[in-house]
Symmetry: C2
């Protein structure tokens, strides 16, 4: 069975990616990160999702992105925005080099496992604002990765799969629903509470809600009561 390392955040996108990788016949080695995110409920969600979708293994690596600051997601002094993504600007929820760091850890594990594939859930909605969600970035990371590793040098290149990159949120939830993903288990909210209940107001919540609406599917998100 082919092995794949799958970056699993506990959110809607990466849960869909895991389901797609499993559907393609991969043994799934899921990797999550505790990076001091405000919304730690997503790690609990990642565990539920990995178990439900038949992951072979699930590891949580602790990384210290807080040490460098610079993002609303890891720096308590920056407010999480609720006004929608501004076109053409990089959101304050962008975490410096986050995808590069996470892909680098995934690369290390992939090399030890001799995995042929790596999956990451970057998508069309994300890359409107985050530089490290664009196809040209992913292609550059793959090229770098295959120069970085013993396996790459020995002619067993690693492929980086981004099955969501051209999909809208609506298409993502349709695909995942068809593959049996229970999105009620996932947490996308930037400021979910301890029980994983969503705020309903942040950009992540808004994009997610619009996705279910556009797909004509019932939104299974657990929202917390309004204050």
């Amino acid at each position: 069975m082919k092995k794949a390392v799958i970056l699993l955040s506990g959110g809607l996108d990466s849960a869909t990616v895991l389901a797609i990788a499993r559907d393609q016949g991969f043994a799934a080695y899921c990797l999550s990160f505790d990076y001091g995110q405000r919304h730690n409920a997503e790690l609990a969600a990642a565990r539920r999702v990995a178990a439900t979708l038949g992951a072979t293994e699930h590891r949580v690596a602790t990384i210290d992105l807080k040490a460098f600051g610079g993002s609303a997601l890891t720096d308590a002094s920056i407010e999480v925005p609720t006004g929608g993504v501004v076109e053409g600007e990089i959101p304050v929820t962008y975490v410096p080099a986050r995808n590069t760091i996470m892909l680098s850890y995934a690369l290390a594990w992939a090399e030890v496992l001799e995995a042929s594939d790596l999956f990451i859930g970057v998508n069309a909605v994300d890359y409107s604002g985050y530089p490290d969600c664009r196809p040209e970035y992913i292609a550059a990371f793959e090229a770098m990765a295959n120069l970085a590793t013993r396996t790459g040098v020995e002619g067993k290149p690693l492929r980086i799969n981004t099955p969501l990159i051209d999909l809208t949120k609506a298409q993502i939830v349709q695909r995942g629903t068809a593959l049996g993903v229970d999105y009620g288990l996932t947490v996308s909210c930037y400021q979910a509470d301890d029980q994983g209940r969503a705020c309903g107001a942040c950009d992540a919540c808004r994009l997610r809600r619009i996705g279910f609406e556009a797909a004509g599917l019932t939104d299974p998100t657990r929202y917390r009561p309004a204050a």
Copy 2:
């Protein structure tokens, strides 16, 4: 003053790199890693070197490379070799994706600092066996980095400097000595003791000793008494 992030291990090479960056007029932001290495004495050495060579700031980030195993430097079940580097093979001291992970953290800090430069002490001796010490790897990382970041997208590219890449060990110690590096403060040994004293037998010790001999310089390394 231009800012540079400098990967500082506490060994001979990165101490020389720090001295070169300072000589070029950079404010030096030094980054070391606690990655569960057997030779933790090198972190104490990094602190001494950073202080002595006028670093603006020195941070130690904890990263968990042990979680993935696969190297003699992080996996206690693999023996550290003492027989010399075998030509054309990747040594067992190679740590999967180590430089990629470390450069990724440096990239995150560089972006927050708005640093223009990043320095890493890869060199001609290392890249004979480690895939992630080759010039083509460094070039690929730089290309990826400038697609990954807000600063790269905004037209302020990060330059990755490898001032040692074409130097022999002898040339490195000559250059550093001319810049006032006290190599007695540095630790290169893969299995140094708690006091930072070198074994004298591992590949790192052998390469270092030969470097001082070839340079015609006194070897200031503190070796521990033979068993």
